[in-house]
């Protein structure tokens, strides 16, 4: 069986939807973070697949994927730091316990 662009796009879309579902339903901040990472990686798969199948001469897609990986890593670092701070102050990482701010 030959892998085509379609296969990769379906994989990317499936990964994106799984991540979307997880981000909207997870109750733990770490779980939401992992789901968001899935969505970023779905985009990376798309970028690499488009580059390989549609524009084999160029490197734009691969470069973009590298940028996305780097920026996502920076984002996760900040996110984990925030989770750590809130855990120190209120000993919870579940979003339903974040209820000081409302109105």
């Amino acid at each position: 069986m030959n892998l085509s662009l379609g296969h990769y796009l379906v994989l990317g879309a499936a990964l994106f939807l799984i991540g979307l579902f997880g981000a909207l339903t997870r109750r733990n901040v770490i779980g939401i973070l992992m789901s968001i990472e899935l969505m970023f990686n779905a985009a990376n798969i798309n970028l690499a697949a488009f580059n390989h199948y549609l524009h084999p001469g160029g490197v734009t897609g691969m470069t973009a994927a590298l940028f996305v990986i780097t920026v996502a890593a920076a984002e996760v670092v900040v996110g984990l730091a925030l989770v750590l701070t809130i855990y120190r102050n209120s000993a919870t990482a579940y979003v339903e316990d974040f209820h000081l701010l409302k109105g």
Binding site: A43, N46, F50, N51, L54, T60, A74, L100
Partner: protein, 512 residues
């Protein structure tokens, strides 16, 4: 390489940000105020550099570089507005008591990095640069929001902001990957001629439309458009007040700037069939912001919802998509910086009061009898609120007038299958919303002028009788400086808007 000079303000500010982080380690905590002064002077220098660049070019088309970013009067206008807001924010920080002095350098550096991100964002003509610039803004803002590390509200605001921000970035990146698939590049302009480049074939393809929709959603989160606005009140209430003031202004107008560039100039919304969608988003944004603001008891939250509604007004100009619309967007963005930062400055004077005990309150009750405690602050606040509500002769009126006029003129010349009713409806909804907004803006004025003063510190309404009158409220010189700049802008552009209008009109013909 010869174009690198055009990036000089951004490069200088980035280096300065790194320097500030180093200075944070080297400088003793008691000289932390010095770092704030350093930061605002640097922003002022960058502002002067950009203003000089504009006057040297004398309105001629500025050079455009390779296709990754563009320097034109519109981008420079937004950069000036962003730098003005960062200068005013640092002024507020100088008077704000809750920031840890030991981390002043880090705080300033993050503020500066965020500003650099906005300056790149309004110049970007490449999706990858748009993404990186947006992330530079967002990641700095997450940390700034959570900067009061011991304050659980600050933690909570930051984590909510972070989750929504990361989620929207992920959606946007997926959109960018589809954009790359549909066009074979991440550029928004033609790489060869560096001019306008509409991939006519791709605009019809569903993948391209889907990509632009996802990217619009990503922008929508950052500009706090209505169905994606849930993070705004929580992030603003949790954030240190100067940061809330900054977030309500600078990232919002920078996102509006890139939204205008992408969806009005490079890939017009009408060519994608997005006009009705954008119009619905604008109506929803205005209505949700104004309606929920009616029921707020916390002034920070009230201003948060008001800033959502204000973004809705600016969207009217983007929906109109005409030259008049662009002018309205530019005009209102600058005016919005002055009036919103001014209002937040008064809220800081009342709620923070320079004390380090954190007893200040941002409840509406804290504004009771402000006129007795400090008449000047109450008058300042009234001017900003009237301008936000859009009453003449203040600057907010001119801005709104332009935006609604843009919608009406777009309705008159509507073509290409878009019903003129969309534009007329937009103008009507905008005017009705302005009327509604007068109620909650004036509610603050009512509390300031017609209710007896209380301690201003209680969470609940204290007893109305007895007890000594609360002490007069004093604000520091920098806060008054910030207020004076804001009021000058609101009054000057309200009474004599001609120079501003001339500048705004100048920037329209040079768009690619």
């Amino acid at each position: 390489m010869q174009n690198l000079g055009l990036l000089a303000p951004e490069i200088a500010l980035s280096l300065l940000g790194l320097g500030l982080m180093l200075a944070d380690i080297l400088a003793p905590a008691k000289s932390s105020k010095l770092l704030y002064h350093f930061a605002w002077v640097a922003a002022a220098v960058a502002l002067a550099l950009i203003a000089r660049g504009l006057s040297v070019s004398g309105g001629l088309p500025l050079p455009v570089s390779g296709g990754l970013w563009v320097v034109d009067p519109m981008s420079q206008f937004f950069k000036l507005a962003v730098l003005l807001s960062v200068i005013m924010t640092v002024m507020l920080c100088l008077e704000y008591g809750q920031l840890p002095p030991a981390q002043a350098g880090t705080f300033c550096a993050l503020l500066i990095f965020s500003t650099v991100g906005m300056m790149l964002l309004v110049s970007a003509t490449d999706m990858l640069l748009v993404f990186v610039a947006l992330e530079l803004i967002s990641i700095s803002s997450f940390v700034l929001t959570g900067f009061e590390r011991r304050n659980r509200k600050s933690n909570e605001g930051a984590i909510k902001y972070f989750l929504f921000g990361a989620f929207s970035s992920a959606i946007m990146v997926y959109g960018i990957s589809l954009y790359y698939g549909a066009t074979g590049t991440t550029r928004l302009v033609d790489p060869q001629s560096a001019g306008l480049w509409l991939p006519a074939l791709q605009t019809k393809s569903p993948v391209f439309t889907l990509a632009m929709l996802f990217i619009l959603l990503g922008f929508g989160f950052k500009a706090a458009m209505a169905p994606m606005h849930f993070w705004v009140p929580d992030a603003y209430e949790g954030a240190p007040l100067p940061v809330a003031a900054f977030l309500s202004v600078a990232p919002k107008i920078a996102t509006i700037g890139v939204l205008a560039r992408v969806y009005m100039v490079l890939v017009p919304a009408a060519s994608l069939g997005f006009t009705t969608l954008l119009a619905l988003l604008a109506m929803l944004t205005m209505t949700v912001g104004n309606t929920v603001a009616l029921f707020q008891d916390n002034v920070k939250r009230l201003l948060a919802y008001s800033s959502i509604a204000q973004a809705g007004y600016i969207l009217i100009g983007i929906v109109a998509g005409t030259a008049l619309g662009i002018q309205g967007v530019l005009l209102y963005s600058l005016v919005y910086v002055a009036m919103n930062l001014g209002a937040f400055a008064v809220v800081q004077a009342v709620g923070d009061n320079g004390s380090r005990d954190g007893l200040g309150s941002y409840e509406l009750a804290a504004f009771d009898g402000l006129a007795q405690r400090s008449l000047s602050l109450a008058l300042f606040m009234t001017a900003f609120l009237l301008s936000l509500a859009g009453l003449p002769p203040l600057a907010g009126f001119i801005g709104k007038f332009y935006l609604f006029a843009a919608a009406l003129s777009a309705g008159r010349s509507a073509s290409g299958g878009i019903s003129p009713a969309v534009f007329y409806g937009l103008a009507v909804v905008g005017v009705l919303n302005s009327v509604v907004s007068v109620y909650y803006y004036m509610k603050i004025a009512y509390h300031m002028f017609f209710l007896p003063a209380n301690s201003g510190k209680g969470e609940r309404l204290p007893s109305k009788d007895g007890g000594p009158l609360p002490a007069a409220l004093h604000a520091g010189p920098y806060l008054y400086g910030c207020l004076a700049v804001a009021l000058a802008g609101v009054l000057y552009f309200g009474i004599y808007p001609d120079p501003l209008i001339a500048n705004v009109q100048l920037s329209v013909p040079h768009l690619p």
